[in-house]
Symmetry: C2
Subunit: 195 residues, 2 copies
């Protein structure tokens, strides 16, 4: 799993899915990337070392794009959006959390596809993808190889949903149980609907 | 907030609470520590830079002790347990997640107090604190300045409970809503009871 980082990424957008996939050491290896490489920090006090996105090793099974305040800037950086598009094209699956959907929408790859995002920043996210079929009520949405989730902790529900799609619901439930997480199994059931 | 790390800490034990407290930048600053300082990694592929525990700057408002596979080794390192005790004594509040309770129990500070831990490793954790009044059914437990939580994602519920105790339930609900987390508001209500 390749995880994209940028300044002011949202902590749990990243580490919810990293907990879910990272513990499956027989199936997944987690690696962190950023546009320039090097140390990437957020305002929660978290700083991680990353590899330059250009040096990514293919094939990528899962490409994870988190959200966070940083996305407000990053949607405007065409060099990042172009690189994201290249990696998406060569990844088997693309998962976004929260406002990470805005970055993915900017590539155009979500056009005419179903997607969702953070319910508290929905209009802003949607403005980054006018041709996307935005779903305001889902916890997470699957369309082809693209998994998009609602805000922050919804990334955990989506990751478990992804495992359920690949390995069956009992496998996903086992992982949810291991991390003692009250998994919202129904992707359509979100308590945080956008108004 | 001072966060203790050690090799093979559990990702979400750390970054659930870091998400909750880290976003409150007016109230909390997150810093990572370890016994020796330097880079600390886990098997999920996460690696963080830490400061030596001995160089910790007091006063510490919250000292967070996560769990993880690493605790199985760490409970036997008296030098770490002694340092944890010193920091606990000088911290206003101590929060543990999952098997982090075993590390805290080893200091003796939980003796005759109520506490809980991961429901899947409960007997092992309890064996590290024979004089602790272990609660097998709580999502998290408060006794004086000590907050102990059940497994992994329960650290998020406990952190929100901590905010509720300090700043009121509406404040905690606001934070839960911001991270779109289905908070288990009742600390006694855990779906993952130990058998």
């Amino acid at each position: 799993m390749a995880v994209l980082l940028f300044d002011d990424f949202e902590t749990l957008d990243v580490f919810g899915p990293v907990e879910v996939f990272g513990r499956l050491t027989d199936l997944y290896t987690v690696q962190f990337y950023s546009l320039q490489g090097g140390q990437i920090s957020n305002r929660h006090g978290v700083s991680l070392s990353t590899v330059m996105l250009e040096s990514i090793t293919y094939p990528v099974d899962i490409f994870l794009v988190p959200g966070g305040l940083g996305t407000r800037k990053e949607v405007g950086y065409s060099s990042l959006i172009e690189k994201i598009k290249v990696v998406c094209d060569q990844s088997k699956y693309v998962l976004t959390v929260c406002t990470g959907s805005a970055l993915l929408a900017r590539t155009g790859l979500l056009d005419h596809k179903k997607a969702t995002s953070n319910k508290r920043a929905f209009d802003w996210v949607a403005s980054n993808g006018p041709h996307v079929r935005w779903d305001k009520t889902a916890r997470w949405v699957v369309d082809g190889k693209f998994y998009t989730s609602s805000g922050v902790s919804a990334g955990i529900d989506m990751s478990l949903g992804f495992l359920s799609d690949r390995y069956g619901i009992e496998f996903a439930r086992k992982v949810a149980n291991e991390i003692e997480y009250n998994w919202m199994e129904d992707s359509a059931n979100d308590s945080f609907k956008a108004v």
